[in-house]
């Protein structure tokens, strides 16, 4: 399943990467400025490229946004399939089961995504309000230190809240697939109660998975910055490192859902 999800991600990304490649080859493939791209960030090159080929690039960018949104909808779709597979983990992987889970839970998961996106927006708005309430204009505050202080206080609290909401959402998804109640608010309520009851375990598990993700990112960051990708072999190596990170990212997502499903089984 991990491989399938990775391949889907890769295939969707290619839908915009291929036109991007074609566009760049046609527009600057014969230019020596191409060599500037091999060095580190080149402000002049980037600016000239964006300015002179703006119309072509904006088409690619719009296409990319469209693909990201399409992938988002598909991700909701196959989330049901992923959870169905995880629920019946003792059975072998079956594409039929994956497909069935995807179609059965699609609308419920879509609604759940909508509600939780609203929660996240409300939480973000609330903290943004708290942050902006003290003012950020030079006419309202004495020093930028107060901005730094409020960021230092509010940001960790906001992140904690956002994480908890994400966590509850995970258990709500599990509950939907596990119990398949008609009303998803029952699943949200149940997930909330479950997290409240087992907060230490849920939060600890979530944090562990987050740290795992951060560790993979750290490995990617240090590896990708440990050499200069200025030749075909090094570009290929960077590609492999990047794709390994994407693969590990998807793996952590599955791991997170799988471990949460296990906890749900154990504790409920």
């Amino acid at each position: 399943m991990w491989v399938l999800l990775y391949l889907l991600n890769f295939a969707f990304a290619l839908l915009s990467a291929v036109p991007f490649s074609g566009f760049l080859s046609k527009s600057i493939g014969h230019s020596l400025a191409n060599l500037n791209m091999l060095n580190s960030f080149d402000y002049t090159f980037i600016s000239d490229l964006v300015r002179e080929y703006e119309s072509g690039l904006s088409v690619i960018m719009n296409l990319s946004v469209g693909i990201i949104l399409l992938f988002f909808i598909f991700s909701i779709f196959w989330m049901g399939g992923i959870l169905s597979i995880l629920k019946n983990k003792e059975n072998n992987y079956s594409f039929r089961q994956f497909w069935q889970g995807s179609t059965v839970y699609f609308w419920k998961l879509t609604r759940l995504t909508f509600y939780f996106s609203c929660f996240q927006i409300i939480i973000f708005g609330f903290f943004a309000f708290l942050f902006l309430r003290q003012g950020i204009s030079p006419f309202e505050i004495k020093s930028e230190i107060s901005i730094i202080k409020s960021i230092a206080i509010l940001l960790p609290i906001y992140i904690s809240f956002a994480i908890i909401i994400f966590m509850i959402q995970d258990y709500a998804k599990i509950h939907i697939v596990h119990d398949n109640r008609k009303l998803i608010f029952q699943s949200i309520k149940n997930a909330f109660q479950f997290v409240l009851k087992n907060f230490g375990k849920c939060f600890g598990l979530y944090l562990f998975n987050l740290v795992t993700f951060a560790a993979f990112f750290g490995i990617y960051w240090s590896l990708s910055n440990s050499f200069k990708s200025d030749s075909s072999p090094t570009i290929a190596l960077l590609f492999i490192i990047g794709q390994s990170f994407i693969f590990s990212r998807i793996a952590v997502k599955i791991l997170n859902l799988g471990s949460a499903m296990e906890l749900y089984h154990t504790e409920s």
């Binding site: 990201i68 988002f72 590609f239």
Partner: protein
């Protein structure tokens, strides 16, 4: 005998005194003696000014004209606000607290006791806007004769704005710029563009800054006793406590075009000495750690100017780093006083502190010493300053990282000017030669700062660094402590360039200035194609109809194929510059071609056993004015390594974006 000895002694004493007294650097035309009291409760300046103004011309001058800058903030209909609109930040403060500011002269007399105030009136030389009271004309009952002086005294009150552009107060931070009634510049016939003598005293506009006359200042500032003052000039005496909870700070400075000062109870003072020049830094407590950055960059800028022009001629330089709530006063230049900006929110790799310090310091030379008219020809100080800011910053921090070097994102200073200029919606919107307030569509800043810096950089590279350096030095020494115009600058450049390059630029550089300074032309040259075709032997029917010569690939005596190769170069923009084109063949041989760049297209053809590998316009990067550097080169075979790298990164971030959004599910 004793009498003669006494006379001899007196003579030598006087000669000795004369030689030890420093000659004035400037003509010292406008000399001020100001006593001002800062009233922090009413937010007012209560002041008395004694002005001695010397008529620099052969004219009989029958009036004086003054700038009353604070009147720009007096009502919503002033020229300043009509052009700028009321900034949203100030609207509330102006509406609720009626925080309009103004300056009013209460009386004025000359040394004979004549009342000059009775006939004084506001004039609007630029736009006839009667609501604008930023220029005051004072008719004189007794005109000032050629090379004579007039001494006048007046009391005045200024209502301090809540930090407006460059000046004002916020909380207990005060920065006093354009704060006093300041006499305009009288331009005698022949100076700059003046055909006959007259005042050059523009209204206060939203774009453009100042034009000031050289003179001496003695200023006594009385402030609450817990306040510290930072100011132009040096302190002849320590601050004097008046015993009424106020302290008077005295400062003096000679041969300058303006005077500014700031006061706050929270200033933390740091000092350093650089080759005898006293550098004083006033920051707020939260910014004290920026001291090392100021004291590291400023000596390097001083050193650069000492090496390339002359030693900084004043004994002191003060830096005021405004607090966050004084942000709108930051990043400005005044004689021997600069304001810069810093923020604890910005990482060290964002070099705004260093950039502003260098920029405002360069202004000490280009406008404060070479006293150009920023209202009419702003490029002469902002453009030249931006150019030298780029030179200094790029030299110290590297030309690809002198503006930003943070988390892999890098940008150089000079390259930022180029990007800023070409990223304008319309880089051909206006020439540099407009008055500051005439720039359309908010283009003033980019055209005057960035475009000027780009074409100065191009000029330097076209004429060569040595010639450019000599030309700028000649310009500086010829015009320091005077008021040059653009034509004076152009004349010096033409003179030096023609002397050093009689063959190439014997007629000077007017062809260049016509396009970059007085014109709006855009430069863009491109290699449009390269072709490598086999040479074909003569074929067909010649003398005998029965005999047909067959086509064959031509070969040389070593049986190697011969190619006819061509490079097609196009001029896509309307600016014409001489161009160099480097053509490289597959065996590594290179040919440097020269083209006058005037035609819209030219072709270079070669016959060789080697194919052309690539061709490049401006291979030594002399023309930063070229708008598109990507089309400056062409390779006969595509080289896609760079494309692959970017596509790889694009793919990676695309995948991450998709997964990132998936977190919401």
């Amino acid at each position: 005998m004793k009498y003669k000895l006494f006379l001899l002694f007196l003579l030598f004493t006087c000669l000795g005194f004369q030689s030890s007294k420093k000659a004035p650097l400037s003509a010292q035309i406008a000399n001020y003696d100001i006593r001002v009291k800062l009233d922090i409760n009413q937010k007012k300046l209560i002041a008395h000014t004694k002005l001695v103004w010397k008529n620099p011309s052969a004219d009989t001058v029958s009036d004086l004209q003054f700038h009353l800058y604070y009147n720009a903030f007096k009502n919503s209909e002033t020229t300043f606000f009509s052009e700028k609109g009321l900034p949203s930040l100030f609207k509330t403060s102006l509406k609720d607290d009626c925080n309009w500011s103004w300056v009013e002269i209460q009386n004025m007399t000359d040394k004979y006791g004549n009342n000059l105030a009775s006939n004084m009136h506001y004039i609007q030389p630029d736009d006839d806007n009667k609501s604008d009271q930023t220029v005051l004309r004072v008719p004189l009952p007794k005109p000032v004769l050629p090379n004579e002086s007039i001494e006048i005294e007046f009391d005045w009150i200024g209502k301090i704005p809540k930090t407006m552009i460059r000046t004002g107060h916020n909380m207990d931070f005060y920065f006093m710029a354009q704060w006093y009634p300041k006499v305009g510049v009288y331009e005698p016939a022949g100076m700059r563009y003046a055909e006959k003598g007259g005042w050059n005293c523009h209204q206060y506009h939203s774009s453009g800054e100042y034009y000031g006359e050289f003179g001496n200042y003695k200023v006594d500032m009385t402030v609450p006793e817990n306040y510290m003052v930072g100011s132009s000039g040096t302190q002849p005496n320590p601050p004097k406590n008046n015993g009424d909870q106020t302290t008077t700070w005295s400062f003096e400075v000679n041969d300058v075009i303006d005077f500014a000062w700031g006061a706050s109870p929270h200033f933390v003072e740091s000092k350093m000495n650089w080759k005898g020049i006293k550098i004083r830094l006033l920051t707020y407590p939260e910014h004290v750690h920026f001291k090392e950055r100021y004291f590291s960059i400023l000596p390097q800028a001083l050193e650069f100017f000492e090496d390339n022009f002359e030693r900084y001629p004043y004994p002191s330089l003060t830096i005021i780093a405004p607090p966050f709530h004084g942000l709108y006063t930051g990043g400005m230049e005044y004689p021997t006083l600069i304001t810069t900006l810093n923020s604890c929110l910005l990482p060290t790799g964002v070099r705004s502190t260093e950039i502003l310090t260098v920029h405002e310091f360069v202004h000490q030379y280009f406008q404060q010493i070479v006293g150009t008219n920023e209202m009419e020809e702003a490029w002469m100080d902002e453009g030249i300053t931006n150019f030298y800011e780029g030179v200094i910053m790029d030299k110290i921090y590297g030309e690809k990282s002198s503006t930003i070097d943070f988390m892999g994102i890098k940008a150089g200073n000079a390259e930022s000017d180029r990007v800023s200029y070409f990223n304008m919606e319309n880089p051909a919107i206006a020439p540099n030669s407009l008055n500051s307030w005439e720039f359309p569509g908010g283009s003033y800043h980019t055209i005057q700062y960035s475009k000027s810096a780009v074409w100065l950089n191009t000029l330097k590279k076209i004429v060569g660094e040595k010639t450019f350096k000599e030309a700028m030095k000649t310009y500086y020494f010829r015009w320091k402590f005077k008021h040059p115009s653009a034509k004076d600058f152009v004349n010096v450049i033409n003179e030096v360039v023609a002397k050093n390059h009689p063959e190439e630029f014997g007629d000077g550089m007017n062809w260049f200035f016509q396009q970059v300074l007085y014109g709006t032309e855009i430069c863009d040259y491109a290699i449009s194609s390269i072709s490598n075709n086999n040479k074909i032997t003569s074929s067909g029917i010649f003398d005998n109809l029965e005999e047909c010569e067959k086509s064959e690939f031509a070969k040389n005596e070593n049986n190697e194929e011969i190619f006819i190769s061509t490079v097609v170069v196009q001029r896509l923009g309307n600016m014409t510059l001489p161009m160099e084109i480097l053509v490289r063949f597959e065996d590594g041989k290179e040919f440097l071609e020269k083209w006058d760049g005037i035609a819209t297209m030219t072709t270079f053809s070669y016959e060789s056993t080697q194919k052309i590998e690539c061709a490049e316009i401006d291979p030594y990067h002399k023309i930063p004015l070229d708008k598109n550097l990507l089309n400056n080169s062409f390779t006969s075979k595509p080289n896609l390594s760079g494309v692959r790298k970017y596509v790889n990164e694009f793919l990676f971030w695309m995948q991450n974006a998709m997964e990132g959004l998936g977190m919401l599910i």
